[in-house]
């Protein structure tokens, strides 16, 4: 697997973007390419700079340095209203004095499109998000989920090249949220417009995206498909942020990694190395398997998660490993665990950044 997106032409190119607010560095040297029709998620904790990056693409913030290109056109010097980019805002930002219909028509009206065209496109857009029945209502008279659909229709009716979504689902409750994730993803496939979706929710990012760009303290940690970012995390931070992991602080010498009592063969070059080992790659050892790394330990805690349980096991030298198991509760106090050396993925350290 490689980090290059699907074989589609590049739509938007973000080049060496940096942004500081006074002394506060929000983004440093971010470069990112977005392909046509791609669903790219910018994932990060609050304060990681993800919303600032989105606002720079939309034109609400000016980058301190760097450039944004759309094809042959330099975007970052254009005011927001000249960019073929539309945004779905976090709290939807529907115009309260206009009806649902008028909200959706807004972009076409300010562009002075002919009446007949406006009416037709608005009707289509409302139909697409199943809001035709509420066309004449004011935004305050419809629910949050419905406002969400109107905000989508209002942006998509302009047929932008790129749609930006700023945590659009964060205000919805869990059930509606999951439903909207699916709807949003299928809507994106249907319209074929590139989406840049900002969220702090790694599960949401995994479910919806073609690629995930993980931001930490204003820098990109990794840009990859959900599958790749999960199975081959580039840094310790990525491994911990996406799902659970065990970080094994090891010393590699002559093709053998050692971490306390554990040792396994690796192709990593010599020196201190951090390995990420997913809990599901640990299992109670069986006689049949060979070539695995084995370790015994004491069960500290078991947490039931429904289909699986997470078991914390303390090894003899104090190392605590987390194992995911689907075989129900362990009864023994002492367990022997095993994992395949290939599942221990070397990752870069994630140093503290101010």
């Amino acid at each position: 697997m490689s980090a290059t997106p699907a074989q589609k032409p590049t739509l938007l190119s973000i080049r060496n973007i940096a942004k500081t607010f006074g002394r506060n560095v929000v983004l440093r040297d971010v470069s990112l390419e977005i392909a046509e029709g791609e669903f790219l998620t910018i994932l990060g904790e609050s304060g990681s700079g993800k919303t600032t990056l989105l606002r720079i693409i939309a034109g609400f913030e000016t980058a301190t340095s760097g450039e944004v290109w759309m094809g042959a056109e330099r975007l970052d010097q254009q005011p927001p209203y000249r960019r073929r980019v539309n945004t779905v805002f976090q709290n939807y930002a529907l115009f309260p004095h206009l009806t649902v219909e008028q909200n959706v028509a807004y972009g076409l009206r300010v562009a002075k499109r002919p009446n007949a065209e406006v009416e037709q496109r608005v009707a289509e857009a409302l139909d697409k998000v199943k809001m035709t029945a509420h066309a004449r209502k004011k935004p305050s008279k419809i629910s949050g989920g419905q406002q969400q659909r109107v905000a989508l229709a209002r942006a998509l009716v302009n047929r932008p090249n790129l749609l930006l979504l700023d945590e659009p689902l964060s205000a919805l409750d869990a059930n509606l949220r999951r439903q909207m994730q699916v709807e949003l993803k299928s809507l994106q496939r249907e319209v074929g417009i590139a989406f840049v979706f900002v969220t702090h929710d790694q599960e949401e990012a995994m479910v919806m995206s073609d690629r995930i760009a993980l931001l930490r303290s204003g820098e990109l940690e990794q840009v990859a498909t959900p599958r790749e970012i999960y199975s081959r995390p580039a840094t310790a931070y990525v491994a911990q942020f996406i799902g659970h992991t065990n970080l094994l602080r090891s010393e590699v010498r002559d093709g053998v990694a050692r971490c306390g009592a554990l040792s396994w063969r690796t192709s990593t070059i010599d020196g201190p190395t951090l390995f990420s080992l997913r809990p599901e790659h640990l299992r109670p050892s069986s006689v049949a398997s060979n070539g695995t790394v084995r370790v015994t330990g004491r069960v500290l805690q078991q947490a039931f998660h429904g289909a699986t349980s997470l078991v914390r096991v303390e090894c003899a030298d104090g190392l605590v490993l987390v194992m995911r198991t689907s075989s129900g509760t362990l009864t023994a106090q002492e367990v022997e665990l095993e994992f395949s050396p290939a599942d221990a993925i070397p990752v870069r350290e994630s140093p503290e950044r101010s």
């Binding site: 609400f60 930002a93 115009f95 004095h97 972009g107 300010v110 562009a111 004011k138």
Partner: protein, 282 residues
């Protein structure tokens, strides 16, 4: 939650205050408006509609009322034209200077009304600052006499005095507009001018209505500015009321005019409240 005694203690004083200083005087005025004055200048408790008939028949009263409304309308218009841009600038562009500029809008309100009216007198008079300047730069060779003792002087002074009253509600309504609506508008392709007329202005209408009401109602009932700066052509309805209650000693007729004014003002307040509700969405 609170004891009966406590509730009584906090509700009775304000109610009593309103009753004694507001309702009772109004009731008294209501009675007066049906009474009359004898040639010997005693009040006759006659209970008839003669005062109201006189108001309708004598053109001087309703002409003065119309002039007062015309002056108030101009004050309202100029206050809005001056106040809106300032409130808009304060709310959207003042940045760090916002608080300072806001205080500068408030400070004139601390200066006595009378002082400000007199200040205009010294500016507009025939030996005033303005005329002296105009003659000094030879824009005119004699003092301009329409500046003072005219409806112009009254409109100018009242606009100066009541503009802060229009700025404050407009500013408040602009501050309440979520900024992401402005961003959404720009994002959807609206130019700054389109954003202003399609989003910002409609959402600030409650503030504009409140400000317009302040300026119009306060100007309509004003008597000091016309007294000091209006001259004979700038007389307003309140000056007539003042003279009826004073030198002319015709309290019943004065009370009838006051009640008429009260009806006009209360209707305006109802209209204003209706408009504000119609245009508020939060």
């Amino acid at each position: 939650m609170f004891s009966r005694a406590y509730k009584t203690a906090v509700t009775v004083p304000p109610l009593a205050w309103v009753a004694v200083f507001l309702l009772f005087p109004y009731a008294l005025m209501f009675c007066y408006s049906f009474w009359s004055v004898t040639p010997a200048q005693t009040i006759l408790h006659s209970w008839d509609l003669n005062n109201y008939k006189e108001l309708l028949q004598k053109s001087v009263y309703w002409q003065t009322l119309l002039r007062s409304m015309w002056i108030a309308a101009r004050v309202m218009l100029f206050s809005l034209l001056l106040g809106y841009p300032l409130a808009y600038f304060l709310s959207f562009y003042a940045g760090k200077r916002k608080d300072l500029l806001y205080q500068m809008v408030i400070i004139p309100l601390w200066v006595s009304y009378l002082v400000r009216a007199y200040a205009w007198k010294t500016i507009l008079g025939s030996d005033g600052v303005l005329n002296t300047l105009l003659q000094y730069v030879h824009l005119t060779n004699h003092p301009l006499d329409f500046l003072l003792y005219s409806p112009f002087a009254v409109v100018l002074t009242l606009t100066h005095i009541y503009t802060p009253f229009t700025i404050l509600p407009i500013y408040a309504s602009l501050e309440h507009i979520p900024r992401n609506l402005v961003e959404a508008s720009r994002d959807l392709g609206a130019t700054p001018a389109q954003t202003f007329w399609k989003v910002i202005f409609p959402l600030s209408i409650p503030g504009v209505v409140a400000g317009a009401t302040f300026a119009f109602v306060l100007s309509l009932g004003d008597f000091l500015a016309p007294l000091l700066l209006g001259g004979p052509s700038g007389i307003m309805i309140s000056n007539i009321v003042v003279s009826l209650f004073g030198a002319a000693y015709n309290w019943p007729l004065g009370a009838a005019i006051s009640l008429g004014m009260l009806v006009i003002v209360i209707s305006l307040l109802f209209l204003s409240e209706h408009l504000e509700k119609k245009w508020s969405f939060s």
